[in-house]
Every structure is written in structure tokens, then in C-alpha cells.
């Protein structure tokens, strides 16, 4: 059989064909050289953007701090730029309130969902629930804002009659709901990538499924879960639309979630909404607040890297 085929077909010299092909493709070398440069430029673009943003923030903030003083900015307890009060603490407590409330909502629900999806749900259930959960992440935040004001706040009012129409609690709860899918989905990815052999090892020692989930899978996926949580916290700190709509615009230095507050982000929206003249103190204060926001998210990222490194269980 083999002999027949050889006789029928002409002799093929693969090496010779490769050489012929090579000699006609000199431009291949140039492409090989250009492509990595192009790829590097794409990667550098995002770094340049970050540097650019930081530069803009710094330049305008420095002007602001030169006029108002850095210390009085970060320790001032009153924020009313139109009256010349530039104490950022009320905005910071406002942002903290939203962040804390939202994480209190999102972390338990998100983790529980992730554990369910990764450890208990059948493949079919997981394939249905996970995309549904991710749809929640695609809802525009402005819709969440209206959901907070028109649905959540009235419910809260039936529990706390004294609650304001704009309040931190409602906005925080809804920001929490918004970031649940993020925590759930990323944590589930981390848990799913824990090797099955570890689960088997634990089961074979007489662990229940819950013990496997909590004592083997969650610790092994811990760095992934921390990463997910910190991303979610950064998202909550930076969330703008929901808090602008539902939390109000009253910079109150308070930890009472039932009253109206203003977050860093919500002030930035208010500050650049048109009636601010270029070069005014309010204009510069927007950048100072932006800088504060930047420092917060940067700190969160550094913290997450530290935690993830310290508690990493490598497998």
C-alpha cells in the first residue's frame, strides 16, 4: 500500500519547500521586530494615561493646597465651598459610610453566592445562575440610583420613619447590591480554580462539604477573594451615580446612615456641573477632592497586594 502511494505522487522535499518559502519572506523579519514594539506601545499607553491623570490632579491640587493649606483641608470638619469652607472630612465620612454599608451587604452575599456556585451547584445550575448574576453587573448605575430612591428608600421609611428622602443607608445598600456580582463572580473564579484533588483529600479525611468549602477551598482561594473584595471596595469608593441620586448633596460630618450626606465623588459631580468658573477656588477644590479619591483607591490596591501576599496559599 505505502509503496504504491510513493510511486503515484511526486517526491516531496519539505526542507526545500521551507527554504523557498523563507527566501520569499524577508519582510517577516521586519514584522517580527515591529510587532513587539507596537505591543509595548499599547501597554505603555495605559501607564501614560495614569501618569497624565496624576499629573493633572497634582498640578491643580497643588494650586489649591497653596491657597487653602493642606492641613486645614484634611482636618477641616466643614465642607461648604460656596462659603469658603474647605474641610474635606465630611466628604470622607460620607464616602466611608457608603463603602462600609455596601461591603457589609456585598461581602456576605457575594461570598455565599460564590461558595454555593463553586461547591454546591450542579454544572447546569452554575451555567444558569452565573450569567444572570453578571447581568446585574451590566445594569447602568443611573438605574440603580433610581431604584434606590424609588424602591429602597420607601421600604426603609416604613422601618425608620425619620429617614430622609436622601440618605446614606439606601445608597449604601444599593451600591452593595451593585458590587455583589463582582465579588461573587471573581471569588467563584478563584474557588473554581482550586484543584479538585484538594477537595478529594479533604473529603477522604471525613470532612463534610461545608468543611471542605470553608477550611480548604476558601483558604486556598483567599488571595483571589481578597483581590475581588478590594476591587469591589474600590468600586464602591469610586461609585458616583447612585450616591449622587440617592445619598443627597449635604456634606454632613456624621456616621448616622439615616441622614443625607455627600461623598467625594458626588461633590466632584456637583463641582463641575457648569456653574463653577475656571480658576475659582471651587474649581481647584474639585481636583483636591479627586486627588483624595485617588489616594484612597491607591491605598486600597496596595493593601490588597499586601494581604494577598501575606495570606497566599499557593497550590
Amino acid at each position: 500500500m505505502m509503496g504504491n502511494i510513493k510511486e503515484d505522487k511526486q517526491k516531496i522535499d519539505v526542507q526545500q519547500m521551507i527554504n523557498e518559502k523563507k527566501s520569499t519572506q524577508n519582510n517577516l523579519k521586519i514584522i517580527e521586530k515591529i510587532v513587539p514594539v507596537f505591543l509595548f506601545l499599547c501597554a505603555a499607553l495605559s501607564i501614560l494615561t495614569t501618569v497624565g491623570i496624576l499629573f493633572t490632579l497634582l498640578r491643580e491640587s497643588i494650586t489649591f493646597f497653596g491657597e487653602q493649606g493642606f492641613f486645614s483641608f484634611i482636618t477641616g470638619t466643614k465642607w461648604n465651598p460656596w462659603a469658603g469652607d474647605f474641610g474635606v472630612l465630611p466628604l470622607i465620612t460620607g464616602t466611608l459610610q457608603i463603602t462600609v454599608i455596601s461591603i457589609l451587604v456585598a461581602l456576605p452575599i457575594g461570598l455565599a453566592s460564590a461558595i454555593f456556585l463553586s461547591e454546591y451547584a450542579s454544572d447546569k445550575v452554575r451555567r444558569t445562575i452565573k450569567p444572570t448574576l453578571e447581568v446585574l453587573a451590566g445594569v447602568p448605575t443611573v438605574v440603580y440610583g433610581y431604584f434606590a430612591v424609588s424602591f429602597v428608600t420607601p421600604i426603609l421609611r416604613s422601618i425608620f420613619p425619620e429617614i430622609g428622602i436622601f440618605n446614606a443607608l439606601s445608597a449604601g445598600l444599593v451600591v452593595g447590591i451593585m458590587i455583589v456580582p463582582m465579588i461573587a463572580s471573581l471569588s467563584e473564579d478563584a474557588m473554581n480554580s482550586v484543584p479538585t484533588s484538594l477537595r478529594e483529600g479533604a473529603l477522604a479525611l471525613g470532612s463534610t462539604r461545608l468543611e471542605v468549602a470553608l477550611k480548604v477551598v476558601v483558604p486556598a482561594a483567599f488571595s483571589g477573594i481578597v483581590a475581588a473584595t478590594v476591587l469591589a471596595i474600590s468600586r464602591a469608593i469610586g461609585e458616583t451615580m447612585i450616591v449622587t441620586i440617592a445619598a443627597g448633596a449635604s456634606p454632613n460630618l456624621t456616621f448616622d446612615p439615616l441622614v443625607s450626606i455627600q461623598t467625594l465623588t458626588a461633590f466632584i459631580v456637583q463641582g463641575i456641573k457648569g456653574d463653577t468658573t475656571f480658576g475659582s477656588m471651587i474649581y481647584y477644590s474639585v481636583y483636591a477632592v479627586g486627588m483624595t479619591l485617588f489616594v484612597f483607591t491607591l491605598a486600597m490596591n496596595l493593601l490588597s497586594q499586601y494581604i494577598a501576599r501575606k495570606f497566599r496559599e499557593e497550590y
Partner: protein, 265 residues
């Protein structure tokens, strides 16, 4: 081998049954993987299960501690009695069975924790919290698994820093820490180098004084070296199950003879 034979003849009468398997059939979905297995496994013996790939020997081993049921489509009929208790009985909890019947896997699978926490995991989930007690259990288990001298100075290091052979002995120590009656071993040396393999084999000889061991192996020489009894599986059936010496010298079934003489498999 000579020692084994002597031990067998003197102990044969008193040895009690650990597993009594009757008419065991198992299906993965529509595919039947085990056919009418009947087997009586004695205490303090090393039982080897040999056979070509896909013959059902690993499936059978995992049925004994019900780990096979982690595959959702598995169906089982028949009976397995572990010391007179039916393990498929609704009242018999899988977790209780697995506390008595430990398992060592083909690939070492330590947890991504410290050496100490790996061994202490079992006792901890079963409610042992006292630090001093745990220290003792960890040391004893590591000694029994013949790895104490190698890891005693690195108990707090991640287990993944150990070599493959050390990881496997750590997994054995982890299994010993809850003092099971039976240890199931699923090709425990197939991922190890010859020296580590030798260490594990020596360990098995040592462990059988206290534990009953059922070991699945691809390696017929290994079965001949370390086991008291050997079962030969083929295509989901148990072809022959008898004294290891007998099985390898005078097999009663033609298929066993073909396999051990290397005519297939």
C-alpha cells in the same frame, strides 16, 4: 515474602473481616464499570488490586470509602459491609465511613498549608483543638509516615516546598493522623521516583501492623513485593482473588496468567 507467608498461616484463623463486598455493580451513567464483585478483605493485611488501565480497580477502591459518589452520575447496586455495617445504608454517614477508611491518592495532594496544618487538618475537623494534643498527633503521624526527620525543622513551611516523595508521605501522615482502620491507596507511587517508591513500600510493610491496607497498583512487582493477597481485575470483573504467592506462581484463571506473564496489559 517468607515472613508474610508465615504470618498468614499463623494468623489466618483469627483475622477478622474489614470489608465484605457482595454482588457489587457500578455504573457511570449507562456504562457499567464493575460487574458482580464479591470480595472479603481481612484486617491487618495488605490487599493489592492489579489490572490493566480502565479495568475498574480505582473505581472499586473509591467505592470502599464512597468517594466514587462525588461523580454525580454514579449508580451502585449490591452491598458492602464495613465491619458488619452496610455502608450504603442511609443511616451510615459517608463522613463517618471516611473517618475510619482513609485514602492516599495517586498524585500527592497536600493542602496549600504548612506541613503542621496539613497533618492537623483531620484531627481539627473532628474537634481536636488542644495545641499540645495536636503537637503530639502531628509528631506521631509524621514519625509513623517515616518523614519526621526530614520535616521536623520545617513544620511551619508550606507543604508545596517538599519534594514529590515527601509530599506523598506527608499525605500518608495526614491520613494516619485520624487513626483510621483501613488505608486505601490509589497507585500511591506512580508519580514518584524509584527511591521515594521504595520508601513508601517499606512504609506500607510497617503500617500493616496497625492498619489494613488496600492498594491499587499498575506495578505487578510492587504487588508481589508488598501484598499478602492480590486481586486481579479485568474489564470491571474480579477475575481472581487469592494469596499473592499463589496468584503469581499458580494462577487458576487463564486471563490472570496471560496478564502476569505480560501477554497483554
Amino acid at each position: 515474602m517468607a515472613n508474610n507467608t508465615q504470618a498468614q498461616t499463623s494468623n489466618q484463623q483469627q483475622k477478622s473481616t474489614v470489608f465484605d463486598v457482595t454482588d457489587l455493580n457500578l455504573w457511570y451513567g449507562e456504562d457499567q464499570a464493575l460487574y458482580d464483585i464479591n470480595m472479603n478483605i481481612k484486617q491487618n493485611e495488605v490487599t493489592a488490586i492489579i489490572g490493566p488501565s480502565g479495568c475498574g480497580k480505582s473505581t472499586y477502591l473509591k467505592t470502599l470509602n464512597r468517594m466514587v459518589e462525588t461523580v454525580p452520575i454514579v449508580r451502585i447496586s449490591g452491598s458492602i459491609k464495613y465491619k458488619d455495617s452496610e455502608i450504603f445504608d442511609d443511616k451510615y454517614k459517608k463522613e463517618d465511613l471516611r473517618t475510619k477508611v482513609g485514602m492516599v491518592f495517586q498524585k500527592p495532594n497536600p493542602f496549600p498549608k504548612s506541613v503542621y496544618d496539613n497533618v492537623a487538618y483531620g484531627p481539627r475537623i473532628h474537634g481536636i483543638r488542644d495545641k499540645k494534643t495536636l503537637d503530639q498527633i502531628v509528631e506521631k503521624s509524621l514519625r509513623d509516615a517515616a518523614i519526621w526527620d526530614e520535616v521536623k525543622d520545617r513544620l511551619n513551611e508550606n507543604a508545596y516546598g517538599l519534594s514529590g516523595g515527601q509530599q506523598q508521605r506527608l499525605c500518608i501522615a495526614r491520613c494516619l493522623a485520624i487513626e483510621p482502620d483501613v488505608i486505601l491507596m490509589d497507585e500511591p507511587t506512580s508519580a514518584l521516583d524509584p527511591i521515594s517508591t521504595l520508601k513508601v513500600e517499606e512504609l506500607v510493610q510497617e503500617l500493616k501492623k496497625k492498619y489494613s491496607i488496600i492498594i491499587v497498583t499498575h506495578n505487578m512487582q510492587q504487588a508481589a513485593r508488598i501484598s499478602d493477597k492480590t486481586a486481579f481485575f479485568l474489564n470491571g470483573e474480579m477475575v481472581e482473588f487469592t494469596e499473592t504467592d499463589t496468584l503469581f506462581s499458580t494462577p487458576s484463571d487463564k486471563r490472570t496468567e496471560d496478564y502476569i506473564t505480560g501477554r497483554f496489559g
